[in-house]
């Protein structure tokens, strides 16, 4: 303690040394801030967590049959079933797995077409398993996609992990807004292509129906009327023949449900030779309709077959037409691939479009495109995790500023001095150095990237309070030393620092130990590291930097009082 007291005393006596402390602190502060642009510390909202389960979404192109979807899914199952850590695999064809948090926002509950399937993969318990689920997904993803996506051309396989925090549609979501459907579609496909070539992005998908060939049967009303039929009859028979209908029901005592009596053409007789128009026509010619006179009319006689393109689904968001392009990140933060992809987009689209960047909002990465030829406008809007991240960081930033103001006001009320309150605030703000450097160090020691996350920010906000407490106790003590013991300012600060060093260090150690277990948690690791490293920084700041500022501050010139608040002896400075 004596050593620290002498150390502080010597610093306070020398102008050069004082300046050196201030300069060093400033350098450390800016150096740590520089770790963001130099990507030494990477930011992400929430890191992945190891779980006992993940799921695989299989999407074959729109218009594919359930058999085709099944083929792709079986391929996935074949690979997954040989994994040692997989305990069971559930395949749900034509529907989603029982709803979970991830599926909630990904529209899993709405799935009910033949071209979708979902596989639930349950793993061994995460405590006994060496490989975390996110690494397993990372390892399996390329193998599965490479082998199974080619089973049915145009299929898309996605690996869905349980979100660590609130669920989003996908890590990277780009909404292509625009009234011109074909053009918007073109842009979306280009965007998807850019995503596919961006490092770190996987599971890229354009959330739009694929356009496929279909046949339109145009009823010839005149012929229908002349042969004594009706259009409705034509429709009904067609549906009955190929899709089938429950024409009656039977109630049963033994069955839990009614038994429908289902009428349909036999599988053999309804199957077409191939996808060609001739095959369809020949099938339709053998399907007869009975008219009112009891005569048989072949169906093909009353309709014309025309090959057309299917009408893709139209998607709106907030009243404007848009197409989503989504991608997941492969163990990296979505921020960096997103910015890389955005740069490529600006370069690529600038040929045909005027590009205008968005202003400073939580949609700050949006791009406004105007077609150079037609003047049509499009908007590329980033949503998904990016939007949530920006919103969260904005709100937490706001919370942080509010916290600063509140603490400042509280201190001004307590000390009735702006400069003393300023010192405390400045001192507590500097714990940011520790937070950033701590993340850099943590990143060096972990095999995966250790991100600065939203929880790190929460840790930092909490640290503000903790380090202001240190400075507060220090100033209080110095004040009473000067007022009650008539000590001179320099000596009083040195003594106070030396005396308060122990409780400051003790509470710091308590916080560090208390947060040690937090640091190992995937989600709250950021908070743990922020608290640990921030506290260390806070101790140095309050024991060296704050005393220097105190010595410089005029507001700290307390006069010895005649009648002292603090009784003699309560502050024991034994010499």
């Amino acid at each position: 303690m004596k050593g620290l007291e002498a150390f502080i005393y010597s610093i306070l006596g020398d102008k050069k040394k004082k300046s050196l402390v201030i300069i060093l602190t400033a350098v450390a502060f800016f150096a740590s801030l520089m770790m963001f642009p130099t990507k030494m510390v990477l930011a992400k909202m929430l890191p992945g967590k190891s779980d006992n389960t993940f799921s695989v979404y299989v999407d074959t192109p729109t218009g594919s049959s359930i058999e085709q979807t099944k083929e792709v899914s079986e391929c996935v199952l074949d690979i997954l079933k040989n994994e040692k850590e997989v305990m069971n695999l559930e395949l749900f064809l034509g529907q989603g797995i029982p709803l979970d948090y991830a599926g909630l926002v990904k529209g899993a509950a709405m799935k009910q077409t033949e071209n979708v399937a979902e596989i639930a993969v349950n793993l061994t318990d995460k405590h006994t398993r060496k490989e975390p689920s996110f690494l397993m997904v990372q390892r399996l993803r390329p193998i599965v996609k490479q082998k199974c996506e080619k089973v049915v051309k145009g299929s898309n396989i996605k690996f869905i992990e349980q979100p660590a925090g609130p669920p989003t549609l996908a890590s990277v979501v780009l909404e292509v807004h625009g009234d011109d459907l074909t053009k918007a579609r073109e842009i979306a496909v280009q965007v998807a292509d850019i995503f596919n070539h961006t490092e770190g992005l996987v599971d890229v998908d354009v959330m739009a129906d694929d356009i496929f060939d279909k046949y339109e049967l145009i009823p010839d009303t005149e012929k229908i009327a002349r042969s004594g039929l009706s259009v409705e009859q034509v429709n009904n028979i067609l549906y009955l023949a190929f899709e089938g209908m429950a024409v009656a029901h039977k109630n049963s005592k033994n069955m839990p449900d009614q038994i429908p009596i289902f009428l349909v053409l036999s599988d053999k007789s309804k199957r077409l030779e191939n996808q060609s128009e001739t095959a369809l026509k020949s099938k339709l010619s053998s399907l007869n309709l009975m008219n009112m006179k009891g005569m048989m009319v072949p169906l093909i006689e009353v309709v014309n077959v025309k090959k057309v393109k299917s009408n893709p689904m139209i998607m709106h968001k907030d009243l404007s037409r848009m197409i989503n392009v989504i991608a997941e990140t492969d163990m990296v933060s979505q921020v960096y691939p997103l910015l890389a992809a955005r740069d490529v987009m600006i370069e690529k689209f600038s040929k045909d479009y005027e590009i205008q960047k968005a202003g400073f909002t939580t949609y700050m990465f949006d791009l406004y495109l105007t077609d150079k030829k037609t003047g049509k406008k499009f908007l590329l809007r980033w949503d998904g995790e990016m939007k949530v991240t920006l919103d969260t960081f904005r709100d937490l930033g706001g919370a942080f500023i509010a916290a600063l103001v509140l603490i400042f006001l509280l201190l001004v009320v307590y000390y009735k001095s702006f400069s003393i309150s300023g010192i405390i605030l400045l001192g507590s703000f500097l714990s940011l150095i520790g937070v950033i450097v701590g993340h850099w160090v943590a990143n060096l020691f972990t095999s995966e990237t250790f991100f600065l996350t939203a929880t790190s920010l929460i840790g930092f906000i909490a640290l503000m309070g903790i380090s202001s407490r240190n400075s507060l106790l220090l100033i209080d003590f110095t004040k009473s030393l000067m007022e009650c013991h008539g000590m001179d300012k320099r000596r009083a600060i040195a003594v106070a620092t030396a005396t308060r060093a122990k409780p400051i260090a003790l509470t710091a150690v308590a916080i560090i130990l208390g947060s040690a277990l937090l640091a190992s948690d995937p989600i709250f690791g950021g908070l743990g590291v922020a608290l640990i490293s921030g506290t260390v920084a806070a101790v140095f700041v309050s024991l060296i930097f704050v005393p220097v500022l105190m010595h410089n501050a005029k507001a700290m010139d307390f006069k010895p009082l005649d009648k002292c608040d603090v009784k003699e002896g309560s502050i024991s400075i034994t010499k």
Binding site: F92, K268, I314
Partner: protein
């Protein structure tokens, strides 16, 4: 007693003084810890905190319309109407062939019942803007509690004798029993195949007999009718009940339906079609499972399965519900085995929540022990013991308050505790450190123990209060963070300030009280310690 009465200036000293010699202090301590323990065992446990997401979808079908038509006459008008509702964050519209869906997402935290009502109301008010030919709109609000099952159980047939229909029948029976378990809300079946009589018409035979599909449909419809019994009256005023029996009792009855007469001889359905008792062949939504007993076993073959999903009522304890369901399943073990049906529990959030909570509880205990050990070295074992006692007391108070305010124990709540752990021992450490310093000061003999304790507590009261208030102030704005993340993190701003306030009270009340019981004035008065050492 005292030579000179110390004048108490701060709440800290008042509290210390008031409770120092009060016999009820120990009772209060025991009571707090008991309340905390009770709250811990009663409070509903879950893995992630509840996020109030409200929203829903309106589905309007209009057969025969193309996406462009649906967009113009259904999606656009509905979207415009939803703009009139306050609290909606996003409106999504999807126009498909034959139908359109408009879904709305409210801002996170909007009241769910209100939101649902507003949505329902808006659609009902504007039924007249829907086009002719559109069907009655379906309104489906989200309900996370009910929609996300906490348990899923996959049932599969162990041998060939159990077909899909029988499996469905058995699981349907079990579903009824499980739905009766306390706090179980929605149960659904996935991948189930229902019994159905399939009439598969051969197109070639149809043309050979000169028949149309319409005729067959009419023939079947005319036979399969259910009519209620009729009442006849006798002359002696009595009732005679009689009715037409349903003509279809089995597949054979369907087979024997006469679809037409040809040259006087009947054509039976069996002549032109294959009628089979089977499953719903038009339903392509199937499910299958592959599983193994333990890590090193071999994966079974793919088996078709029926998954039973079980959701719980909002605000109930997932752990208890899952346990009850598991117990019920155990009861039916023998019966299911006899039927040749096996099952695999493929999801159990109750267990997961319990594990997550218990793991974090362990972390809490370990952390407390580590801090206690650290204090033994820094302050001495008695002082360490005092500080260590305050931790469970503070946590107990916080838990109890959380329970009273209707929160649940989840990962985030426990992280709030872990986060505050480092902070909340501070107050106690500062008090005990000051007591320690006073006890080793040179004028210790001139003071009475009681007064010394009160004075030591009172002295650091003001700065500690302000400092703790500062930390609380940093946490409060976090409560106003919006969106999903804000809701997710909410337990932190809700619980940390409570824990910190509790830490002040506990430090001021129990630290001097326990010090009085455990600490003694040093007898070796000739030895002078240095300040704070």
């Amino acid at each position: 007693m005292a030579l000179e009465q110390y004048e108490v200036k701060d709440y800290a000293g008042k509290l210390a003084k008031g409770f120092l010699r009060n016999p009820l202090t120990s009772v209060l301590g025991a009571f707090l810890i008991l309340m905390g323990y009770l709250s811990l065992s009663i409070m509903p446990r879950e893995e992630d905190p509840q996020i109030a997401i409200s929203g829903g979808a309106v589905i309007v079908a209009m057969p025969g319309a193309t996406p462009r038509e649906i967009e113009n006459i259904i999606i656009n008008p509905l979207e415009r109407k939803f703009r009139e509702v306050k609290g909606i964050e996003h409106i999504y519209g999807q126009a498909f062939n034959n139908y359109g869906i408009v879904s709305v997402m409210y801002y996170i935290g909007e009241d769910r019942e209100d939101s649902n009502l507003k949505m329902y109301d808006k659609v009902m008010q504007n039924m007249d803007i829907l086009p002719k030919g559109a069907m009655q709109p379906l309104i489906k609000p989200f309900d996370i509690d009910i929609d996300i099952p906490i348990m899923t159980v996959a049932f599969y047939a162990k041998d060939k004798s159990v077909d899909d229909v029988r499996l469905h029948e058995i699981v349907r029976h079990l579903q009824q029993k499980i739905n009766a378990v306390q706090n179980v809300a929605k149960t659904t079946l996935k991948g189930n195949r229902k019994a159905q009589y399939n009439i598969e018409v051969d197109l070639n035979k149809l043309s050979a007999y000169h028949l149309s599909l319409g005729q067959i449909m009419k023939a079947v419809e005319s036979v399969a009718v259910d009519v209620p019994d009729v009442k006849g009256r006798t002359k002696s005023k009595k009732l005679v009940i009689f009715g037409v029996k349903n003509a279809i009792e089995s597949v054979d009855d369907v087979n024997n339906i006469i679809v037409a007469q040809y040259m006087g001889s009947p054509i039976y359905l069996r002549d032109v079609a294959k009628v089979r008792e089977g499953v719903d062949i038009q339903n392509f939504k199937t499910a299958s499972i592959l599983f193994k007993k333990d890590r090193d076993a071999k994966m079974s073959d793919e088996k078709s399965q029926v998954t039973l999903t079980i959701a719980k009522l909002a605000g109930t304890n997932a752990v208890f519900v899952a346990d009850d369901v598991m117990e019920l399943l155990k009861e039916y073990d023998a019966e299911l085995a006899k039927e040749g049906v096996g099952y695999v529990v493929t999801r159990n959030y109750g267990e997961r929540a319990n594990e997550a909570v218990n793991e974090l509880m362990n972390h809490l205990v370990i952390t407390i022990v580590i801090i206690a050990l650290m204090l033994v070295f820094a302050l001495g074992w008695k002082e360490s013991l005092i500080v260590t006692f305050t931790v469970p007391a503070i946590l107990a108070v916080t838990l109890f308050i959380a329970y009273l305010s209707g929160q649940t124990i989840n990962r985030i709540t426990l992280f709030a505790f872990l986060l505050s752990l480092g902070l909340l021992v501070d107050a106690a450490i500062i008090v005990i450190e000051n007591i320690h310093r006073h006890l080793h000061a040179h004028d210790v003999d001139s003071k009475d123990m009681d007064e010394l304790l009160v004075e030591a507590t009172d002295e650091i009261g003001a700065p500690t209060n302000v400092a703790t208030l500062a930390i609380i102030l940093t946490m409060v704005p976090m409560a106003f963070v919006g969106g999903m993340m804000g809701s997710f993190m909410k337990p932190i701003p809700l619980n940390v300030p409570v824990a910190l306030i509790a830490s002040l009270f506990v430090a001021y009340i129990f630290t001097p009280y326990l010090s009085l019981k455990l600490l003694k004035k040093p007898t070796h008065k000739h030895h002078h310690h240095k300040g704070g050492k």
